[in-house]
């Protein structure tokens, strides 16, 4: 019993030690430097970060801790000073973030596109139209539509389209019983939409990775308004002096470097490219 509890204590101390180690970037005495990045679930789920982060870690010795939480929360964490940088896809929110003094050096890194998906037989007749018209048709037909409803970048983009169509799907629950909110990530929401033979709004990358497991099809794509840019912003030390600004800017430099941009362009799932780099355009 004694040796058992001793070894547990040893393991516990060993484990807790590095975690409690202070990570002040200006006078670090610990084994590793850390960068805390909040990002979106949609990027994290594709696995892109697992490809572009390790070369950075190897080159600089800075360990990147990614908190994949959804754009709204990602930005909130940065405002609270709990992370050092954000990598999200909600341009309006990012600009407000910078304007309020929380962020510095916003840089657009890459983009992809959203699509509207739905049942193959397209009961609302939305196919072939632009995004806003498609949404109007869906609302008019009261066809079931499942939204993420979680304040994520994807969700906000979707809501902007409803607004452009002059529709408020969240107001007046009784009238809009066809509009459902899952409160979940893209994949789960797509699965739900598939089960219910409903329409859905998500980014092409996620749909492509799920394509052969669902019966939904792409109904609308290619509209300019479906453009989905991802940008990196560092947290401003003026607001949060302990923010690891140097590490953040190093990562930002990496993201916008030719090498990383090439890796982004070459990142494929099932032979299809998911993201398009924006600093060095590859045609």
């Amino acid at each position: 019993m004694n040796t058992c509890s001793n070894s547990i204590l040893f393991v516990a101390v060993l484990f807790l030690l590095p975690a409690c180690c202070k990570n002040d970037s200006t006078k670090c005495t610990c084994a590793e430097r850390v960068l805390r990045l909040s990002s979106t679930t949609s990027v994290d789920n594709t696995g892109l970060l697992d490809v572009i982060i390790p070369p950075f870690e190897k080159r600089t010795g800075i360990k990147v801790h990614v908190l994949a939480v959804g754009t709204g929360k990602a930005i909130k964490l940065a405002e609270n000073g709990d992370v050092d940088a954000i990598f999200v896809h909600d341009r309006l929110a990012e600009e407000a973030f910078v304007a309020a003094g929380y962020g510095l050096h916003r840089m657009q890194v890459m983009h992809n596109n959203f699509v509207v998906t739905g049942p193959a037989d397209d009961p609302a007749g939305a196919r072939g139209h632009d995004a806003v018209t498609a949404f109007s048709k869906i609302a008019a037909a009261k066809a079931v539509f499942i939204s993420r409803g979680d304040d994520s970048g994807t969700n906000k983009a979707e809501l902007r389209l409803w607004k452009a169509a002059g529709i408020d799907p969240k107001g007046d629950q009784a009238k809009n019983a066809w509009y459902l909110e899952s409160g979940q990530g893209q994949r789960m929401t797509l699965n739900m939409a598939d089960e219910k033979k409903a329409y859905c709004f998500l980014d092409r990358a996620t749909f492509m990775s799920a394509e052969d497991q669902v019966s939904s099809k792409i109904i609308v794509e290619g509209d300019k308004r479906l453009y989905n840019p991802y940008s990196f912003t560092a947290v401003n030390q003026a607001k949060h002096p302990q923010a690891r600004y140097l590490e953040a800017m190093a990562f930002g430099a990496w993201l916008t470097s030719a090498e990383c941009q090439k890796m982004i362009a070459e990142f494929k799932i099932k032979g299809r490219q998911l993201f398009y780099p924006d600093v060095f355009e590859k045609k």
């Binding site: 484990f15 975690a19 000073g81 709990d82 994949r187 799920a210």
Partner: protein, 231 residues
């Protein structure tokens, strides 16, 4: 899908894939640490409550039993509020580390271990304490003898605490952050992988969780029957 998941699970586990075993390591280390710390605090506390006679004892027992139902997300939320930069303990820089997970899990496990311990002691033979006191022991020694004579029940209390923290996800997610290779454990891993549609890995992790829980309970049961046959 479950079958395919099980097949994939066996493959991931036997090939020592770090995607599967990394989170297992985090779960085990964090849960063991929290259970150890919580027990060191909760067992003496439970003994005190179980053996003591003081005003407010009944109220304290009711509070302890109520805390058994603490939702993990609530604990996670409170710890987050304390550890966030803007919070009172922000300068500790503990958020999104395994240490923060341990803190939350200690809070979760404490009432379980304490309540079970107090109940076991209260249920136990009062003659033990009486006998030991009657032989001239002090109160502290008498409490320790009661604990030793009831060690099977106390071990069960600790095992219950472990089971609860090992399987929780609310705290791990909120204050651990599910950071790949750092704070991602079995439960946040399951949530994450299933959210991505990677059911096989989710199932794999679930199998490991159940296997560890089973192993712990088997070990406890085995030890209890051995200890039981001696006294």
């Amino acid at each position: 899908m479950i079958l395919e998941g099980i097949r994939e699970a066996i493959r991931l586990l036997t090939s020592f894939d770090p995607e599967a075993w990394g989170p297992v390591g985090v779960s085990v280390t964090v849960a063991l640490s929290s259970t150890l710390i919580a027990s060191l605090l909760a067992l003496p506390f439970g003994l005190l409550v179980g053996l003591g006679r003081f005003r407010g004892k009944r109220a304290l027992v009711i509070v302890l039993n109520t805390l058994l139902a603490l939702p993990t997300v609530l604990v996670g939320l409170v710890i987050y509020a304390l550890l966030t930069r803007r919070g009172p303990l922000g300068s500790w820089d503990m958020l999104y580390t395994p240490a923060a997970m341990v803190v939350g899990q200690v809070i979760l496990a404490f009432p379980i271990v304490a309540a079970f311990c107090a109940a076991a002691v209260e249920r136990s033979d009062p003659r033990v304490r009486q006998t030991v006191l009657g032989l001239g022991a002090g109160r502290l020694r008498a409490a320790l003898v009661v604990a030793a004579e009831n060690r099977a029940a106390l071990v069960a209390a600790v095992a219950a605490g472990f089971g609860r923290v090992f399987a929780e996800v609310g705290i791990s997610m909120m204050v651990g952050g599910n950071i790949h290779g750092y704070t991602r454990n079995i439960t946040t891993g399951i949530a994450f992988e299933t959210g991505k549609g990677e059911f096989a890995l989710g199932v794999a992790l679930g199998i490991v969780l159940l296997t560890v829980a089973l192993a712990v309970n088997l070990a406890v049961g085995f030890w209890q029957s051995r200890a039981g046959s001696q006294s």
